[in-house]
Point group: C2
Chain length 205, copies 2
DNA sequence: TATGGAAATTGACGATGCGTCATTCTTGTG
DNA sequence: CACAAGAATGACGCATCGTCAATTTCCATA
């Protein structure tokens, strides 16, 4: 069967490398959810795999780096969704709303995957990875474009992006605490708050 | 000098207890600022005092408990400021603005005290202490009152409180990144955004 | 003032996690 | 098949953890 070579064209070396990395990430996700980031140890993570402790360090330098990889992964999955919302949007309001829906849907999915909601893990750790700040840049760029096109007043785009992200985070958390989480209602709230609030924001000198 | 007894009416026992606790908190604040919460160890903290390692555990059960005590302390100092802003406010807009100013002033002071701004410490840890959630309750109560008095539309008070807090946190962080931090401008932005946004927020059914 | 005992401090201890590295095993190549 | 490069392994030295028996400090009472 010559197809076998096509299905797995890469050598076993590379395959196990990818598999091991993935196994570590999967185990880490489970362990972080179960024990919280703080309490979790590299040994806890590695115990959730078939690997030896030393092997962990062939893939990541530390627990923090694993967390970053997970966060990066999340951001990397979210960014194209956000970008698409931007491209498909018929209006600024439409963009804002789709973006909030996308984010809220995203965190709902991320949370029902694991046991504990992110917010109930204590202490709560937030990390700025390159991909995370890429999401911020994405948001900010969209807002600046909207301002440039006259779809939004000429406000401080940095502050506005921060406000949008802050609202998304906190309202998103609040939404997750309710059952069942109503994504549409939360998105309506956030969109309405920001949109009609723009007129009141100070013009940028 | 009989006054000595008046100046220090309590016994040495109690005095050293208070002093030791304070010494640990002060050292912890310094260590967290220097190394970040994650990297800091109980030993690092205790080394910043004259005490032995075992003594730490007479005062706190863990590093986390020290952090909570610090956060609680912050919230405890902030709450009366917030309450006063509420009592002195001439209008809802006035209240919102004073509250934002109070918060932004608060974090500016808190940050210039230590070396690194809180936001540049990685990983970033956020914790919900009883006092922290008391601040949330305070904010939410104010908003509910405003709604009840007809000063604000009948929106979802929980979401609105979350949105205010999210805006305060993120815009506050952004403000700290600028130099010099312009408290008034940030407060104007946040107040304007929320106030004029209220009309657009969905009515609560 | 002297003293007995409660309370607080101390640092050593066993347990555990850290990151490293010499060794062993595995894989791809000639 | 043989060999070299690469990856996995787990034991090692070091650091921190939280505990606890021994010690010191303080205060109340005689």
């Amino acid at each position: 069967m010559s197809e076998a070579a096509v299905v797995e064209p890469i050598g076993k070396r590379e395959r196990t490398k990818v598999a091991n990395r993935q196994a570590i990430l999967v185990a880490a996700r489970r362990v972080f959810a179960k024990l919280g980031y703080e309490a979790a140890t590299v040994r806890d993570i590695i115990r959730g795999t078939e690997l030896a402790s030393g092997t962990f360090y062939n893939y990541f330098r530390s627990k923090e780096e694993v967390f970053e990889a997970l966060a990066d992964d999340g951001a990397r999955r979210f960014r194209p969704i956000l970008r698409q919302a931007r491209e498909n949007a018929k209006s600024f309001e439409d963009y804002l709303h789709s973006a909030f829906v996308a984010y809220f849907r995203f965190i709902v999915e991320d949370n029902q995957q694991e046991g504990l909601p992110i917010d109930q893990r204590r202490p709560h750790v937030r990390m700025d990875t390159p991909e995370m700040s890429a999401v911020y840049q994405e948001v900010r760029q969209s807002l600046e474009d909207a301002i440039a096109h006259g779809d939004a007043p000429r406000v401080d785009a940095d502050y506005l992006a921060c406000a949008c992200i802050g609202i998304a985070q906190e309202v998103g958390s609040a939404m997750l605490r309710r059952s069942p989480p109503d994504i549409a209602a939360a998105a309506d709230f956030a969109t309405g708050l920001i949109l009609k609030g723009l007129q009141g924001a100070p013009r940028q000198g």
